[in-house]
Point group: C2
Chain length 235, copies 2
């Protein structure tokens, strides 16, 4: 079944956005009485039934909770430099949503080549991945910031920086404590500069690695998500 | 440093293939005496020095072992259906090499839409990912086979099938025993048919899931690699 997005009205009805209403009635040709999955992307997906097949403002009644997504612990924030080829970064956005990322922070680092902020396009890619993956929560895309600005924010939970430079590093999966909120920073092609690594360490980040293989920026960001999810999913 | 691929001559010299020799001498303009990374992709990368800058047959002397890749245990075989859009499957090939896959078995399943065998192109994608990731071992790409044919081969190690159908499933990361060889089967868009799942189970495969989120075929294949590697890398 397909997921449609909208908001709850005060009277308890669920109202699809205009775009979603059009898609639901004109494209997928749903009719009054049809059942669909509906969500406001704040943690729950409901099974609903169309009350009014209005192509501008379709309204639904909720029947039962279909899925609840845990968003109170083990929240994953990935701070990552956009890549030189934007399709690689867009690929990361789609896949990290599938992998259960909670927040994405594009980071402008010393060696970041591609500094264009495409937040509108990035947001659309995240939204469509959310629908494809039937996620009950929409990951937050934060506005791109310079790394040194980001380090001024005091994030809760564990904080890691994955870099390829020298110095002792443990495996991210071994350092991560199951269930805790976590922020992982991933550098651009060419990695963080030595100075950036030093800044992160002195800001309370712990150096971690993602295994023994060399990963591209976008693969590293996704690997971090899967490694953390594996720790959270393992008994 | 860049990785160049070739073979060991009986006299102990390392000979780059004609294509690699051309790339090394004509494109990256290396000269006699330059140091490079060389590998026959059978588990070791050496630091070598060019003895003869021949653009058709460059020869090198090995100086020291630079990297050894563990290929005797924890070997990961992913049996996966090619996807409808070939770029998604090619993306899986590149990323699974980065994630440390050992063997890739394209599987033709009941719902596999795209049955074109593009093994030449797929092999080139794997090779270039190997060089990019500095892997010391080239994952094996097996010729595409029908699922039922594959099930006749008796694979060593643990064997799992990841499907979205009903029935009890454990999380792949919890079921996998660290260090053991493993085969994981991933179905096409639309999943394995019920009959195919039954065939796999009766052939000794165990049903497993990759977490609570719905993943696309290519993402599922990569997720399996990262989940297994996480178990192998964790202390």
């Amino acid at each position: 079944m397909q997921l449609f997005i909208g908001n709850w009205a005060p009277d308890g009805r669920f109202i699809l956005s205009e775009e979603e209403s059009h898609h639901c009635i004109r494209v997928t040709r749903h009719r009054t009485g049809d059942r669909l999955l509906i969500s406001d992307l704040k943690g729950e997906i409901h099974l609903g039934r169309i009350m009014d097949e209005n192509p501008k403002q379709t309204s639904c009644l909720k029947e039962e909770v279909w899925k609840t997504e845990q968003i109170t612990q083990g929240r994953i924030t990935i701070g990552i430099s956009p890549t030189q080829q934007s399709d690689r970064f867009e690929w990361f956005l789609e896949k990290s949503v599938e992998a259960g990322v909670h927040r994405i922070q594009p980071l402008i680092c010393h060696r970041t080549e591609n500094q264009k902020d495409k937040s509108d396009r990035w947001g659309r890619i995240i939204r469509s991945a959310v629908k494809q993956t039937l996620r009950a929560y929409e990951p937050q895309l934060l506005p791109a910031v310079k790394l040194r600005e980001w380090l001024k924010t005091k994030e809760d939970g564990q904080r890691f920086i994955c870099h390829c430079g020298p110095g002792h590093k443990g495996f991210l999966g071994s350092l991560y404590q199951k269930g805790s909120d976590v922020t992982v920073l991933i550098g651009p092609e060419g990695d963080f500069s030595e100075e950036e690594v030093a800044q992160c360490l002195s800001s309370g980040y712990t150096a971690a690695d993602l295994g023994s293989l060399r990963l591209r920026t976008e693969t590293a960001g996704l690997a971090a998500c899967f490694i953390l999810q594996t720790v959270n999913n393992c008994k």
